[in-house]
């Protein structure tokens, strides 16, 4: 039973999921989740380990397709279009729905090449001058330009962990996606690097619909305007972040927020 706070139905929803279930073989990882993701806000998925929040997030850009045993049922729409439908190409979907992973994973190429790779394979910018513009704009938006502008030819893997993660965010926004999915983007980083990522999420919200999975309730409280609480594969409660943290309806949400488990 899912509790959805009033006024959460959104006519302009960017992503709309209906009755989504995900199975790994016989095991059900996500159990019948329906949610509307607003384009205007940062949406946070919280919940204890193994509750299915990351798996659910990976449905939005069909990254679960790469796992042979995973099966997704239900309907997921991006701007009203079925992402599993015949008219939706998975490559195009992933260009429209970018993703940042838990562990920073820059390509073992130069910083410049990390950013230029996406625009180049999609043919957004082919000339060097156009690519230069895209690289500078993406790195500036990710707050990394001033730190790396003099060493764009250095390997992306030579940066610090926090810088690598911002490089990955810059890489994702270089193809100008509509949605950015973030799977615990700061869990491998120290508090200062985490603060920078959170600041960045704040700056990017509004331009992109952002969905973030996080372990840290404080982080969810700081960066998101909408929060969904997951437990044992089910979405327990979904509402405005302030409501979820100050006035949760479900007992399980209350117990998790107050640190009784998780």
């Amino acid at each position: 039973m899912t509790v959805i706070h009033p006024n959460m139905a959104d006519e302009t929803a960017k992503i709309r999921a209906h009755d989504v279930c995900v199975y790994y073989g016989d095991k059900m990882a996500v159990d019948d989740v329906s949610i509307d993701i607003s384009p205007k806000y940062v949406t946070a998925f919280i919940g204890p380990s193994g509750c299915g929040k990351s798996t659910f997030l990976r449905c939005f850009n069909r990254m679960n397709d790469t796992i042979g045993t995973a099966k997704v049922t239900g309907l997921i729409e991006l701007d009203g279009e079925d992402i599993h439908g015949d008219r939706m190409d998975v490559v195009q979907l992933r260009a429209r729905v970018g993703m940042v992973f838990q562990k920073p994973n820059p390509f073992p190429k130069s910083i410049y090449e990390n950013i230029a790779y996406g625009p180049r394979i999609h043919g957004f910018a082919e000339k060097k001058a156009d690519l230069d513009v895209v690289v500078e704009r993406s790195l500036t938006r990710a707050g990394l330009w001033d730190e790396v502008k003099d060493r764009l030819d250095d390997s992306g893997t030579a940066l610090s962990g926090g810088q690598q993660q911002r490089l990955c965010i810059a890489r994702a926004i270089a193809v100008d996606p509509e949605v950015i999915l973030m799977d615990e983007p700061a869990s491998a980083l120290d508090p200062i690097a985490t603060a920078k990522i959170e600041e960045l999420i704040d700056e990017l919200s509004g331009r992109y619909a952002i969905v973030i999975v996080t372990h840290s309730m404080q982080q969810a409280a700081r960066v998101s305007q909408r929060t969904a609480f997951f437990h044992l594969g089910k979405m327990v409660e979904y509402g405005p972040t302030s409501e979820i943290f100050t006035n949760p309806i479900e007992d399980r949400t209350k117990d998790y927020i107050t640190g009784r488990y998780g």
Partner: protein, 427 residues
């Protein structure tokens, strides 16, 4: 009073901890002893193998150096007097040797040899000696205008006599000529440019070396792309089911099949399809490629498995298609590992004789192959053939051929290691 009582209590408490007992210390000492013994054992093993390697290479080098030399007789020919004539054009023409033969160059050489060395020694001049003169004239046509001195190959009997072997009269003749300064062992650079011959004085390695290069090229061109593409397909695209398991097992077994079986396969399939290409590097290369491919597939798959999945996810997540993920990210990262497998496979193919025996590459080939389809032999086969010869002169030539094979192997591996380091990337 109270403080000392406290510290005494502390000591008893400490001495009863399991890490502070004599038993523990004895165990600790034994652990260190074990580690030291293991290190010594390892060092001994490495030293032993290094010693064997040094002995092998040293032995090869000492024996083989002689193979790069040959016994040569000194003959001076006065061309203006001899009546042999020619100009820059005719002496450098491809038919120069025939023209000179028609003018009686072989007799001229024999005449001067007899005059300067005596009839007995002139008889021990290699019958093809005049060809060396003709080659020298092609290099420098102005020699024809004056008297010139040549170092011409002695017969293998005289060469043996020079080293204290063979009949006593030949040894005596060799000794006399050496004392007179008319017989000497000289560096024989021609060894690297001639091909197989019946006399150890006239043999060269170039034919076999070129045959090896052509064969290896065919092997590489076939085995590398097929092996790499198979590895990529099996690892990245093929579904995991009973069929792919079967293919995996088959490839592993293929890598362990004795090489002579591959030779039979080459004989019954390739030579049945192309019966005119017996002894050709093309068929040899195809046969060796069959043998090399499984090694490349296995090492390639391991290299692909070692590429972190996070790189794949990262590329997929910005919308790279599976083919782009493979060719832009997985392949470059797996390339060093694949090259290592290729080095191992090619090194094995380079030293292989058994499969080539069966497809006829053990023929006596006196001219270097001029293409992938002309008869050829390869270095290990040449070594095998020479080691089988009765003439003592072939012993050193065999060692020299082994040195050439090892140098070729080192050069090939060096190139592969250079390429591997060039492609190597950290992540």
């Amino acid at each position: 009073m109270s403080t000392s009582a406290l510290s005494a209590a502390g000591e008893t408490a400490q001495s009863t901890r399991p890490t502070r007992t004599p038993v523990f210390e004895r165990r600790l000492a034994k652990r260190y002893r074990d580690e030291r013994n293991f290190r010594l054992l390892g060092l001994a093993a490495v030293s032993f193998s290094l010693g064997v390697l040094v002995f092998l290479l040293g032995n090869m080098l000492i024996n083989g150096i002689g193979g790069f030399q040959r016994a040569e007789l000194t003959v001076t020919i006065d061309f203006p007097e001899s009546g042999v004539t020619g100009d820059a054009v005719s002496l450098t023409a491809p038919s120069a040797a025939q023209t000179l033969e028609m003018q009686g160059l072989p007799d001229v050489v024999a005449f001067y040899a007899e005059q300067q060395l005596g009839a007995e020694a002139a008889a021990e001049l290699s019958i093809d000696g005049w060809r060396d003169v003709s080659a020298a004239l092609a290099d420098d046509p102005t020699l024809i205008e004056r008297s010139a001195t040549f170092e011409l190959a002695a017969s293998s009997a005289l060469a043996a006599g020079m080293q204290g072997e063979g009949p006593p009269e030949m040894q005596a003749l060799a000794k006399r000529l050496v004392d007179e300064g008319k017989l000497a062992r000289n560096w024989d650079w021609g060894f690297l440019s001639r091909s197989d011959a019946t006399s150890p004085q006239a043999v060269g390695i170039w034919g076999a070396l070129k045959g090896t290069m052509l064969t290896m090229l065919v092997t590489l061109v076939l085995a590398f792309p097929i092996g790499v593409l198979s590895a990529l397909y099996l690892e990245e695209y093929a579904p995991r089911n009973r069929w792919t398991d079967l293919i995996e097992v088959s490839i592993s077994n293929l890598a362990a099949v004795p090489s002579i079986i591959f030779g039979l396969l080459g004989l019954s399939i390739f030579l049945a399809i192309f019966p005119n290409l017996r002894s050709a590097p093309l068929i040899g290369g195809m046969t060796l490629a069959l043998m090399t491919m499984p090694v490349i597939v296995i090492s390639g798959r391991n290299a692909i498995k070692a590429v972190p999945p996070s790189i794949r996810d990262g590329a997929l997540a910005i919308g790279a298609s599976p083919v782009q993920v493979v060719f832009h990210h997985v392949l470059p990262l797996a390339m060093p590992g694949m090259l290592t497998g290729t080095i191992i496979g090619m090194a094995r193919a380079l030293g292989e004789t058994a499969p080539l025996l069966l497809i006829g590459m053990r023929a006596f080939v006196a001219t270097p192959p001029d293409g992938f389809t002309s008869p050829a032999t390869v270095l290990p086969m040449q070594i095998f053939l020479w080691s089988d010869e009765i003439d003592r002169g072939f012993v050193e030539r065999t060692s020299a051929a082994i040195i050439v094979l090892l140098v070729f192997l080192l050069a090939m591996n060096g190139l592969a290691i250079y390429l591997r380091n060039k492609f190597e990337k950290r992540w």
